[in-house]
């Protein structure tokens, strides 16, 4: 995936330059047929764009900061909660259906926020700096640029979140599994690691799409934070009889609640269960990415 960083020493000067140096300049007297580059011409592909995006994302400090923060928050808070629970709780606190992996929930909820920021920045920083014009000049295919960004970002965040959630889950299980009556089930493992990572990475992808639509870093980050934090907050104020259904829906389908489903939370009778939250967020993200593609094609860069 990565290109060689160190080029062969003393790359020979291209031949055309040597030729041109000796030859006097006569306007309009150029060789017939125009200029032909000695560098082999190869059609660029999606793979090339992915390699370029990988170079871009790893060569920025903001990537290291946001991803580092995510790892520290998820693993740190997860470890803290596990240790505190291990020392404070007694066996009576663990019932038949207690899901001990759920102790990773708070960490991932907070660790998600830097990922949303990174998702937005991946594309909005190009608009903010004007780099997008250079990028789209080098690759006029908007779909390829957006697709490569989405693939690289999703893969990176998914893998890192998976590492973090798996570490926390292993710690939780290692400390507390023998104190629960039923231990930790297989589907519980999969949902708390793969499921959560997929959900969070998809949410990051959604923020990338929002960044491409709004093109403004601060605006897009605010939008995503609002999307995560406002619905549960608003639902608190919708207790009046007339608006209660709306408040209930907001609470049920808010992102923290949906995320909690992967840790075994029950969201009432009609709320999503199992893997449904992942399909919902993937659907929304697909629509947003489609919109972002249309916007990139139509609007002036």
């Amino acid at each position: 995936m990565t290109a060689p960083m160190t080029p062969p020493p003393a790359a020979p000067a291209p031949q055309h330059q040597a030729q041109a140096a000796g030859q006097p300049y006569w306007p309009g007297q150029a060789p017939a047929g125009g200029y032909v580059s000695p560098i082999p011409v190869r059609r660029a592909t999606l793979g090339d764009a992915i390699a370029a995006e990988w170079t871009k994302i790893k060569s920025l400090r903001s990537t290291m900061w946001t991803l580092g923060t995510m790892l520290v928050v998820v693993i740190g808070i997860g470890t803290l909660i596990a240790l505190v629970t291990y020392n404070v709780a007694d066996d009576a606190d663990f019932g038949e259906d207690s899901q001990i992996l759920g102790m990773g929930f708070v960490g991932i909820l907070l660790g998600m926020i830097p990922l949303l920021t990174l998702g937005v920045l991946t594309i909005s920083s190009e608009y903010g700096t004007g780099l997008i014009r250079t990028t789209l000049t080098a690759c006029p295919s908007r779909g390829r640029v957006l697709g490569a960004k989405a693939i690289v970002f999703f893969a990176l965040t998914f893998v890192l979140t998976l590492v973090a959630t798996t570490l926390v889950a292993l710690l939780d299980a290692g400390l507390l599994a023998d104190r629960t009556p039923n231990g930790v089930g297989g589907s519980e493992w999969v949902k708390a690691t793969l499921g959560v990572s997929g959900y969070v990475a998809a949410l990051g992808l959604l923020s990338l799409a929002v960044g491409a639509l709004l093109r403004h870093s601060a605006g897009a980050i605010t939008t995503m934070l609002g999307l995560v934090l406002l619905p549960p907050l608003l639902s608190l104020f919708m207790m009046a009889e007339s608006v209660r259904p709306i408040g209930k829906a907001l609470a049920t389908y808010s992102i923290p609640s949906q995320l909690a489903v992967f840790y075994g939370a029950e969201l009432g009778d009609d709320g999503p269960t199992g893997w449904t939250p992942l399909w919902i967020v993937l659907g929304v993200t697909a629509v947003a990415l489609g919109g972002a593609y249309a916007a990139m094609t139509k609007r002036d860069a």
Binding site: A3, G28, A30, S37, I39, A44, R133, T134, C139
Partner: protein, 425 residues
């Protein structure tokens, strides 16, 4: 070969580029000139498929940019020196572009050497000066070793050594048979670099000709004659003698006379016959910069207003500076007089309709009898060739265009704000 046909771009009510038709040929450097906000950058962005034209089309080698196979290997562009992510090093910036274009990574070190940035390649570009940014942008343009090169204001912020380097680079690239299209607002720079000129103002074509033709058409020689100060009657006497002899006389702000149509010995003889002493009798050649200023003055969007302090200053000798007191016979604030005998620019006063629909017609009698100096005050710049009524709908931009010049031109432009390329959207 870049080809634009009827290229038009509107942003809401503002027309940034109006009905541009031109060709940029390979094997030579084509200069793209115009004042700030005249639509140069917008045109460049449309060539690169970044902005979508409202009407018309522009192609490179017969295809729109977005449909070019292997676009980065055919076209390289410097759009904006600031179009990099400041947190990324020069090397990684170029490496990502090379990877995106399917270019071998070792090409990055080659272009870094070409632009002289090899020593700072690993530094974050945030700390780069404007000149270093320009070099980085040029490196990005050269990355694909393309057949067509576009440079938007490449010498901005470069030191004299860098300017010379860019000039030679452009010429060398053109000598290799490439198409080189360079925008600038500096006529003097283009006169040295370019072989062909495309001049626009307020988004409309003002000139499309070779540099030699531009010089021939736009720079007229004149003689400067100065009579002793404090003897205005001598000056008036000489003026009438010169006009009688068939010369055209234009007073300059410092009291000298600008004479065309008469050879220097003849002026001397006439003065001698009229018994007038001369303090100065010198030949002058109007500079290309001046010709360009005259051509575009009506199309300047951003004109500074008079600074009140100017009222305390002596009028500068030589040309009237914008804001200096203007003697009679001059076009108004910042106005350059029309030199008698000068060929009016056929493009300058074009009616808004496309050229083929409204064939340019010389103003009746413009060659035969230039108007007397007093009349010229009203007429400068070049008398509009009877503006054919715009066919069909009249687009907004040309309505504000040149016609009777100075006062209107000075007042108009505030709303025609440029869509800045560094505008961070």
């Amino acid at each position: 070969m870049i080809e634009a046909v009827g290229l038009t771009k509107r942003y809401g009510a503002k027309t940034a580029v109006h009905n541009l038709t031109f060709q940029v040929r390979p094997g030579m450097v084509t200069g793209f000139l115009g004042p700030n906000g005249s639509g140069k950058s917008t045109t460049m962005r449309m060539i690169l498929g970044l902005d979508v034209p409202t009407a018309g089309r522009v192609t490179i080698g017969g295809r729109p940019y977005r449909e070019l196979p292997n676009a980065p290997r055919q076209v390289g562009a410097l759009i904006d020196a600031k179009a990099v992510h400041g947190g990324r090093s020069a090397y990684h910036h170029l490496l990502s572009l090379a990877q995106l274009s399917g270019i071998p990574a070792r090409r990055v070190d080659e272009v870094l050497g070409v632009v002289g940035l090899q020593d700072v390649a690993k530094r974050r570009s945030k700390g780069f000066s404007l000149g270093m940014g320009q070099r980085l942008g040029i490196a990005a343009a050269l990355l694909g070793d393309p057949q067509v090169l576009l440079f938007d204001e490449p010498v901005n912020g470069l030191d004299p050594e860098g300017i010379l380097w860019v000039r030679n680079l452009m010429k060398r690239l053109a000598a290799e048979g490439r198409t080189v299209f360079v925008s600038s607002h500096l006529m003097s720079e283009m006169a040295l670099t370019a072989d062909h000129l495309i001049v626009i103002g307020r988004g409309q074509l003002l000139a499309d000709m070779s540099v030699e033709d531009f010089i021939a058409a736009n720079s007229a020689g004149f003689a400067r004659v100065r009579t002793p100060d404090g003897e205005p009657e001598g000056r008036e006497k000489l003026t009438s003698a010169l006009v009688e002899a068939g010369g055209q006389v234009l007073p300059e702000p410092d009291g000298a006379l600008r004479v065309t149509g008469l050879a220097l010995p003849r002026i001397s003889d006439l003065a001698h016959a009229a018994d007038i002493r001369l303090w100065e009798l010198s030949p002058h050649q109007a500079s290309l910069e001046e010709a360009y200023m005259r051509m575009t003055q009506a199309a300047v969007d951003y004109r500074s207003t008079q600074d009140a302090r100017a009222g305390f200053q002596q009028p500068a000798p030589g040309y009237a500076m914008p804001g200096a007191p203007v003697p009679p016979g001059w076009g108004g604030p910042g106005g350059y007089p029309v030199l008698p005998g000068e060929q009016p620019n056929p493009y300058a006063q074009q009616p808004p309709a496309p050229p083929q629909q409204a064939p340019r017609q010389p103003a009746p009698g413009q060659q035969a009898q230039p108007p007397a100096p007093q009349d010229r005050a009203a007429a400068a710049p070049p008398p509009p060739p009877v503006a054919a009524p715009p066919s069909g709908e009249a687009p907004p931009a040309p309505a504000a265009a040149p016609a009777p010049a100075a006062p209107e031109g000075a007042a108009a432009p505030a709303d025609l704000t440029k869509r800045d390329s560094e505008d961070a959207r």
